[in-house]
Symmetry: C2
Subunit: 266 residues, 2 copies
């Protein structure tokens, strides 16, 4: 249980302080804050988390590289520089990258924009002591959130770099992949994070359709064991976008996450 | 335009006769009937289609192999035998296979059930002069409709067999794949069908969320050119599950399909 990390989006309506308190109450040792939940002073957020005795597994999120014009792409890079600074200030070891959709129908062009963006950010991240974690999203988000949609693709993007660029494996996004287990092994040494939730039937908004571990179709224990076998010993984030879960008090959500983590993931 | 085939599900509420008449009126030369739209006498359906001057590109669909018990799996095989017979009676050169979801969380086990089913059916299909077309579905259907979710995976399943087992490439299901163009080239000689529609934002029912060509995110012309380059010269089916499209008269739908096919696919 010492590896369980509460990704803050799992209580999407709670403040950072509420999420921190819920973790403390239920013995969860790690938290993954989201940038839009931070205050204007990340150093104070860092103190709030540290003084509660929690460790930070990652900061969500940077990325969103592709854009129609060079000026827009440059603005996205600037925002990612700020995200790296915030991660460093917080003491978050990893900045999760959700790479963004294409501005048009040219997927390959958008994928080159992602590669260009990561090439610019990698040395900045290295200097800041922050690892970039390229997270492939489920292919159903290819048009809306990320042109990076497979673990193989994220590994190809990370492998030209040193350890400052890794991949984030989210079971929800990759569970369907026929090559999943060989790709997890290939990710040895590059695994910057591991996220769990479950696949339930899609709801009106696919983004908000994730389920609690055990409520859906994913062979979570097998995937967790494969990630372990590939040498990853870090925190495991529970990250669930689901409006009905968000309506619960953060304490109830954290308690349920901890119980299901023990029952269905470990 | 001589390659355009109207997949009957694109007018999901129309009868076979209505769909046939709409094709004749708008100069569409091919049609792909669905089994649940056939009468109890496929020979009469075949005559209806032939006498209208139409050719059949494929019959939709067989598959749905995985099941919890051997008895159920055997029933599914029997149903696929009937589907092959119906395809032969119709003169459909291809039976499209939608391979089915897992009965539990064991994706690999379900995938073996698919392989076992295809191994049983392949010689039956060869004898009947019908090609089996393994259609990978979009990974968002991995839990509900098909454990076969990539073109690579369907090719690996088809390649041990002779030409009696091929793959069906549906742009909607595969457009997101970072390896798409190399996989299309690998499919040379195995392409049993090519389907087009478009990716639009997901609606309440993902199954019913396909868009008309040109209304969404897919680089259709590039994919069509790649399929051509891989040596496929057969009919190209328009296959769109979309309730708002289904509410139109079949004639309007066929006219729109033909126009968009010329504008956005050729």
């Amino acid at each position: 249980m010492s590896r369980l990390s509460f990704n803050q989006i799992t209580s999407g309506h709670a403040s950072l302080a509420e999420a921190v308190n819920a973790c403390v109450k239920h013995g969860v040792e790690w938290i993954a804050p989201w940038r839009h939940k931070l205050s204007a002073k990340p150093a104070e957020d860092a103190r709030l988390i540290r003084e509660a005795g929690l460790k930070i597994s990652s900061l969500c999120r940077g990325g969103m590289f592709p854009a129609a014009t060079a000026a827009e792409r440059s603005e996205r890079i600037d925002d990612n520089r700020r995200a790296i600074e915030e991660a460093a200030t917080l003491g978050a070891p990893v900045l999760v990258l959700v790479c963004g959709p294409a501005p048009d129908r040219d997927l390959d062009g958008a994928r080159r924009m992602v590669e260009d963006g990561i090439a610019i950010l990698a040395p900045i991240a290295r200097s800041a002591g922050v690892q970039l974690g390229i997270e492939p999203l489920h292919p159903m988000f290819a048009a809306s959130r990320s042109v990076v949609v497979t673990l193989e693709q994220s590994l190809k993007m990370a492998e030209p770099f040193g350890p400052e660029v890794g991949v984030v494996i989210d079971a929800y996004h990759v569970w369907w992949d026929p090559n999943l287990y060989s790709l997890i092994e290939r990710a040895r040494g590059r695994i910057a994070g591991f996220h769990v939730s479950d696949w339930i039937p899609l709801l009106a908004d696919p983004l908000m359709s994730r389920g609690m571990m055990g409520d859906g179709s994913i062979e979570l224990r097998r995937i967790r064991a494969a990630v372990d076998s590939a040498g990853y010993t870090g925190p495991i984030e529970v990250e669930i976008f689901n409006e009905s879960l968000w309506r619960k008090p953060a304490e109830d959500t954290v308690r349920l996450c901890a119980a299901r983590f023990e029952e269905r993931v470990l």
